[in-house]
């Protein structure tokens, strides 16, 4: 396959970026999107040009590091997969592909296609954990949890924290991310105790970090590589309302 690539190039946080056009030939349909970029980088290195910086780690769809906006869609239009699991067979010979970094005030571009997503870690640090002393393992039947609740928690826990929901949202809102984390922890008995504070604190942190608010357009759910449901946002909203009304001064 022969492709025309328009890639966002930006030398550093401080400098201005722009789209640059490259031609790439010899791409196989079974190459992954990142393998295609590897080939481009070899070509660039051969001519002495600085290779394109992009994030990646596992390349098997589980770590959440890869983060490209391909033709306007985070992780491309292929639904239910990450950028690293997007294959070139989904494109056609001669296609022009525009590649941009995730865009949000809270995700500053570090270089080219690499953005700083440590804001998500800060949200987790504001409440995305359970503070219980583990002690001795208790008898398994002491804590009864229904299969339904376990599934709910597990589905939410499949969030890999890539930030595609934020990149896709018109308002760069982090609601689906926070909803996944709070559902994952909060529907289980161990996490239930801290749930009101968790929800209030994580959302406050996101507000401070400059993420936008949710307009319920559901674009987040549509681009999520793990199919996290917006019903989690509704669950978080009702917990939030009750917790906010019941909260005392800290």
């Amino acid at each position: 396959m022969k492709l025309k690539l328009k890639i966002w190039r930006q030398a550093s946080k401080e400098t201005q970026g722009a789209l640059r056009t490259y031609e790439l030939d010899g791409v196989e349909p079974d190459d992954s999107f990142l393998e295609m970029l590897d080939q481009l980088n070899q070509q660039l290195a051969a001519t002495g040009e600085e290779p394109v910086a992009f994030d990646h780690d596992c390349r098997e769809g589980i770590c959440g590091m890869c983060s490209l906006v391909i033709n306007g869609t985070p992780h491309s239009r292929v639904s239910g997969v990450t950028t690293c699991q997007t294959y070139m067979r989904h494109f056609r010979d001669g296609d022009t592909i525009v590649v941009e970094p995730f865009r949000a005030a809270a995700f500053p571009v570090i270089k080219d296609l690499v953005v700083d997503r440590s804001a998500l870690d800060e949200i987790i640090a504001a409440g995305g954990y359970i503070s219980v002393k583990t002690g001795h393992a208790q008898d398994a039947n002491d804590l009864l949890i229904s299969k339904e609740v376990v599934d709910l928690s597990m589905d939410a826990a499949s969030c890999i924290g890539c930030g595609a929901c934020i990149a896709a949202c018109r308002n760069a809102s982090a609601m689906l991310f926070i909803a996944a984390k709070t559902t994952h922890l909060g529907v289980l008995p161990q996490g239930d105790i801290e749930q009101p504070t968790r929800v209030l604190n994580m959302i406050r942190k996101a507000d401070e970090l400059g993420f936008g608010s949710c307009s319920n357009e559901l674009v987040c759910e549509a681009v999520c590589p793990k199919g996290i449901s917006v019903s989690n946002i509704a669950r978080m909203n009702r917990t939030y309302l009750a917790a906010a009304l019941a909260s005392r001064k800290a």
Binding site: K6, W8, V69, N71, G72, T73, P74, R77, S79, V98, E100, R103, A104, A105, A106, A168, R170, N171, A172, S173, P196, T197, L200, N201, I203, R204, A206, D207, G210, F211, G212, S213, C214, S215, N216, E217, L218, V219, E221, A222, V223, V230, I233, A234, R235, M236, N237, R238, T239, Y240, L241, A242, A243, A244, L245, A246, S247, R248, K249, A250
Partner: protein, 228 residues
């Protein structure tokens, strides 16, 4: 719900603001039902309509409600504008290409941040046209009343005005279609069994308002053409 000790500022909170927006929006939707029903009295002739308009302006209880309504409208609009401004800040550098799959149908391509301010503009014109304008008066059984009926009919003789009204009503329909559903989601109401019902209610309400509010100016406009 357990009472928890956390600092919580309702107006800085993105979620709580949305919940206030949702509550005020639902109240406004309720008002629109009354507004449409009242306007249908136009078809019962000048006297019925003018008397109805007179009661709406002079009954003490309705005067109090009008103030409350103004407050709800102002709150909804100002909060909405603030949310739009904050959301703009959340993505300072736009995408060169943005193409995201739509779950809420293609209507959602037209954002609330577009329909909202446009409707606000219409509303300001609308209340200066009919609520605050000094109109000619009529006399029914010794009581002087504003001749709102004639004002409405003559306003709807201009093709430009009628086109503007119809366009504004389409925006109201879009705004309500998303807003009604979205309000429930913001409050956290989500249930497999009832979601469909909320969606259908949003369809029904927005369609009813569009048809009803478009029909009135169109009827008087066409009647004007027929008569002349």
């Amino acid at each position: 719900m357990r009472s928890v000790a956390v600092s919580f500022n309702p107006f800085a909170s993105s979620v709580f603001r949305k919940q206030i927006l949702a509550a005020s929006g639902l109240m406004i939707a309720g008002f629109l039902v009354i507004h449409l029903a009242g306007n249908l009295l136009l078809f019962r002739g000048p006297e019925v309509y003018n008397r109805y308009a007179f009661v709406m302006l002079s009954h003490p209880l309705i005067m109090v409600l009008e103030w409350l309504l103004a407050l709800v409208f102002a709150g909804h609009a100002l909060l909405g504008l603030k949310i739009i401004a904050d959301n703009r800040k959340a993505r300072p550098v736009p995408y060169v290409v943005r193409s995201v799959p739509q779950r809420r149908g293609n209507f959602s391509l037209i954002s609330m941040s577009v329909t909202g301010p446009a409707i606000l503009l219409f509303l300001l014109i609308h209340i200066f046209d009919f609520r605050f304008a000094s109109l000619s008066t009529v006399l029914y059984e010794e009581v002087v009343m504003r001749d709102l009926y004639s004002a409405v009919v003559s306003t709807y003789q201009s093709p430009v005005t009628v086109t503007g009204y119809i366009f504004a009503m389409l925006l109201v329909g879009l705004h309500l279609h998303h807003g009604f559903w979205s309000a429930f989601q913001s409050f956290g109401f989500w249930h497999e069994r009832y979601n469909r019902f909320i969606e259908l209610t949003a369809d029904f309400l927005s369609l009813t308002f569009v048809i009803g509010f478009v029909f009135i100016p169109l009827w008087f406009f066409l009647q004007g053409i027929v008569r002349s």
